[in-house]
């Protein structure tokens, strides 16, 4: 090899080694003559053939990969990756080997990579310290959040709550603030006071930590009003500048504490100083405008771009994309899988928009997109459809478990809907939030009607709270008749709202809002209480009639449901066999494991269970076989045309046969005519319910009905 090439190799800190033909483990040095190479492979210096043995075990192992390349028929190469070798005087060599096959020549190049190694180590050091810090932060936040909520949920005396909370937060390694519903401070730990201490300089700003955070939120977060109004959680970064000496980056989390009426009792605020982390990120990434995880532009970068876009005065659409149930996903699969999902979602969205469009990650699970060169809603809808299409394909966890993700997308137009960055962001955020209620993929354009609908929901929610306080609900009963005994054996409890101005309201006008607002839990408890009292009264009058209650999905997943039910049964001293719970098919599918656990518990104490509206959902036979059930209630939509429609006839016959095979009783809902009743009787249906017998009636009327029945029974027996 020429001396010039040798000089280059020495300058590059590389040596070239060639395997001796016909030998598996003999080599000779063919280029380069560095001191470190002699220290690594002492025999290579003598220009003689040498072997690579277990004195350099990593290299010895790499020869297996090298041999595969050298024995192959095509030109190829493989790299070993970095490894560290300790030579004389404890000197460390950071090396990399490359096995090459080129024009039938086999070569092994070993490079001293100290420079690259040091650079990579320094970068990885910062990156890993950062992720270590984040991991600890997340764990501490989650732990403390759960612990504070647990303290709030315990029946403490007020002053004991304060003591318990103070004890819980005092030693946290970050600022923790607990406030009243109006964001006035109740407790701040020492870390909070330290974090918000300002240099001795005079300042006009408040030094109260909560005031500072609220001010930062108002100034830097267009979603602030929506978050407070909708009692949502939020976490993200805020920049606190207070001249002349304060510049801190804060990672802030805001969590609501709600009472039984779903009203804000308190706010929990966490704040961490992440200025050092920001510095590390900047040093590594050479930019503070990029999101580390997804490599997309971050919120600040997005803000700047949006401002420029508005200044240019060219119409565009702004999209706000929210990954539904991301928090649940994170809890279920873990944070790493959550990160993986965000990377995948961002990649898929990016691939479905034009390169001239701008996408950024603006929150934990939120992305914002500026769609340029679009000035009409139809085009915008087309882009959104593309985005939704590409996220419809199932995602996979590292364990190859498939799952689906739904997006809520809010859209607003510049200049039609708003003229400023703040307003635009506020409007798209509100639109996405509205769409999110459906849990399915959704696109919601900003509109006046959307704003009006939101207001209406807030009004009804407020009225519902008043209704709970003022005891405006009533429980009506609709009799269920056993066809074999020909008597009332059961009654379905149906709630009515005696509204002060609108009169008697049916559940379909308020239950959906109660479910969305979480008030259903409190209303559901009232229903259980009242039903238990009714069972007691009916029983004391000498009638044995069961009352069945409808459970909403939120109640099924409420861990306090069973204890509450059990307490009511005990307090009223009623036989649990006189209660039945009705759940819909959807609930079973939402979370089979939780449903099964609850149903097993209620049946263990003697309460029976029925599946309501059977046939309208998607329940499979497998669910019916496995779940602990007693009755199926055939939905009224099948009963309505049972006399005239052959399909409905076939369906009802099949459901009855299937239920009986599974040892389940069958109740037909919505029976209104003698013909319908005849058909059901002929096909061995067990029980019926509907206007043919009675509409849902007040408790006193139901008692009269029972008394009349008793009288008739008596008369028929005595005649």
């Amino acid at each position: 090899m020429t001396s010039i090439l040798n000089n280059v190799l020495n300058a590059m800190q590389q040596v070239i080694i060639e395997p001796v033909e016909g030998s598996l483990n003999l080599f000779k040095l063919v280029g380069g003559s560095c001191l470190w190479a002699t220290e690594l492979l002492p025999l290579s210096a003598s220009q003689k053939v040498f072997s690579i043995d277990d004195n350099t075990p990593f290299l010895q192992d790499f020869l297996i990969d090298a041999q595969l390349i050298w024995n192959g028929s095509e030109d190829n190469r493989v790299r070993s990756g970095f490894w560290t070798e300790v030579v004389a005087n404890n000197k460390e060599l950071h090396l990399e080997a490359i096995a090459i096959k080129q024009d039938d020549q086999s070569l092994l190049i070993i490079s001293n990579q100290t420079e690259d190694f040091t650079l990579r180590q320094s970068t990885m050091q910062s990156a890993r310290e950062l992720s270590l810090y984040n991991d600890h932060l997340i764990e501490q936040n989650e732990y403390l959040h759960t612990r504070i909520l647990a303290i709030f949920n315990k029946p403490y005396e007020q002053e004991n709550i304060i003591t318990a909370l103070t004890k819980a937060i005092e030693n946290a390694g970050f600022a923790v603030l607990i406030t009243k519903s109006d964001l006035t401070t109740i407790i701040a730990n020492t870390a909070a006071l330290h974090l918000f201490e300002q240099g001795g300089s005079s300042t006009h700003e408040s030094s109260n930590p909560v005031d500072i955070i609220v001010q930062l939120l108002k100034n830097q977060l267009p979603e602030y009003e929506r978050i407070i109004a909708t009692k949502s959680s939020w976490d993200g970064e805020l920049c606190w500048m207070s001249p002349p000496s304060t510049l801190k980056w804060l990672k802030v989390a805001l969590y609501p504490v709600l009472d039984d009426l779903n009203e804000i009792k308190n706010w929990i605020i966490f704040a961490n100083d992440i200025s050092n982390i920001k510095y590390l990120v900047q040093r590594n990434e050479k930019s503070d405008l990029q999101d580390l995880l997804t490599q997309l532009p971050n919120r600040i970068s997005f803000w700047q771009r949006l401002e420029k876009q508005i200044i240019s005065n060219i119409p565009f659409y702004l999209l706000y994309v929210d990954v539904n149930d991301f928090r649940r996903h994170n809890e279920f699969y873990g944070h790493d899988e959550g990160d993986k999902l965000l990377i995948e979602v961002s990649g898929r969205i990016k691939s479905s928009i034009k390169t001239s469009d701008f996408i950024a990650r603006v929150g934990g699970d939120e992305f914002a997109i500026i769609l340029t060169d679009i000035d009409n809603q139809a085009c915008c809808e087309g882009v959104v459809e593309r985005i939704l299409d590409c996220t419809r394909e199932p995602f996979q966890t590292s364990e190859l478990e498939s799952f689906n993700v739904n997006l809520s997308i809010g859209a607003a137009n510049f200049p039609h809907d708003a003229h400023s960055v703040e307003e635009l962001m506020k409007f798209v955020d509100l639109s996405a939030y509205n769409g999110k209620r459906s849990k399915a993929n959704s696109l919601q354009f900003y509109s006046q009607s959307m704003k009006d609908a939101s207001r209406l929901i807030i009004e009804v929610e407020h009225e519902l709270r008043e209704a709970i306080k003022n005891d405006e609900f009533e429980l009506f009963l609709q009799p269920i008749i056993d066809l074999e005994l020909n008597k009332i054996v059961k009654a379905e409890a149906l709630i009515r709202w005696n509204h002060p101005t609108k009169g008697m309201l049916f559940p379909d006008s308020f239950i959906a809002i109660a479910e969305k607002s979480g008030l259903i839990i409190t209303i559901g408890k009232w229903v259980i209480d009242t039903a238990c009292q009714m069972v007691d009264k009916i029983n004391k009058m000498g009638h044995k009639v069961k009352i069945s209650l409808n459970l909403s999905p939120a109640q099924v997943f409420d861990e306090n449901l069973f204890p509450h039910l059990h307490t009511c049964i005990k307090n009223n001293k009623i036989d649990p066999c006189l209660l039945e719970l009705e759940i819909t098919e959807g609930v079973m599918i939402d979370d089979y494991a939780i449903t099964e656990k609850l149903l097993n518990k209620v049946r263990a104490i003697g309460v029976s269970v029925s599946i309501d509206d059977f046939g309208t959902g998607y329940s499979s036979l497998a669910y019916l076989k496995k779940l602990p059930l007693d009755f199926l209630k055939i939905d009224r939509s099948f009963v309505r045309d049972i006399v005239s429609d052959d399909n409905d006839k076939a369906i009802v016959r099949a459901v009855i046969a299937m239920a009986h095979n599974l040892n389940l009783g069958v109740i037909a809902e919505g029976v209104e005519t003698q013909e319908q009743l005849d058909f059901l009787e002929q096909n061995s249906c067990n029980s019926v319910q509907g206007y043919f017998f009675s509409k849902p009636i007040e408790f006193s009327s139901f008692i009269m009905l029972l008394q009349n029945q008793k009288k008739k029974d008596f008369e028929s027996h005595s005649s």
């Binding site: 277990d54 075990p57 990593f58 192992d61 297996i64 990969d65 990756g81 970095f82 490894w83 560290t84 300790v86 950071h94 990399e96 190694f117 990579r120 180590q121 990885m124 050091q125 990156a127 890993r128 310290e129 992720s131 270590l132 991991d135 600890h136 764990e139 989650e142 732990y143 873990g334 944070h335 790493d336 990160d339 590292s398 364990e399």
Partner: protein, 164 residues
């Protein structure tokens, strides 16, 4: 002397390098310095009737910057999955690495829950550690800092390998 290749695997910053350093040199360094690539150390483990030379492959931790590489497990007599008891996620990541390693290496696997001198992560107990023990041939709570259980882990591993 019989040589045994032992790989140390796990998430980053769980203390793989510190465990090796404590075992080979009896030293612990408070400063965390991330490992890049692979570094191999050797140490002879003497049992009652026999001695084994351990080739300890200290492999860069797996995280979003560095994916698990199965080729490093080639010829391994055992591998040790190291987790950090102050960080729950490191156990989950360790179990994921274990399931990947299982696919390519049919050798004994050891779980080392390191940093036992520190306060455990608050959620650690909830994870039902007993359930995971069945996945491993041996498991130890170790502290590379105090040396607690470190020698013992390698000696028990040597015994296990001697028997097999």
């Amino acid at each position: 002397m019989i040589q045994k290749k032992i790989c140390l695997l796990g998430a980053s910053s769980v203390g793989k390098t510190s465990l090796v350093k404590q075992f080979v040199e009896g030293i612990f360094n408070e400063k965390y310095l991330t490992t890049i690539g692979v570094k191999i150390d050797k140490k002879v483990v003497t049992l009652e009737n026999n001695s084994l030379q351990f080739m300890l492959w200290d492999i860069e931790g797996n995280d979003r910057y560095n994916a698990f590489q199965e080729r490093y497990l080639r010829g391994a007599s055992a591998y040790i999955i190291v987790a950090d008891q102050t960080r729950t996620t490191s156990l989950i990541e360790g179990l994921e690495i274990h399931s990947l390693a299982r696919k390519v290496a049919k050798c004994p696997a050891i779980l080392a829950i390191n940093k036992s001198d520190l306060q455990p992560s608050w959620h650690w107990e909830d994870k039902g550690l007993e359930d995971y023990n069945d996945l491993f041939d041996l498991h130890f709570y170790t502290s590379a800092k105090t040396g607690a259980n470190v020698d013992n882990m390698f000696i028990e591993l040597a015994k296990l390998l001697q028997e097999s």
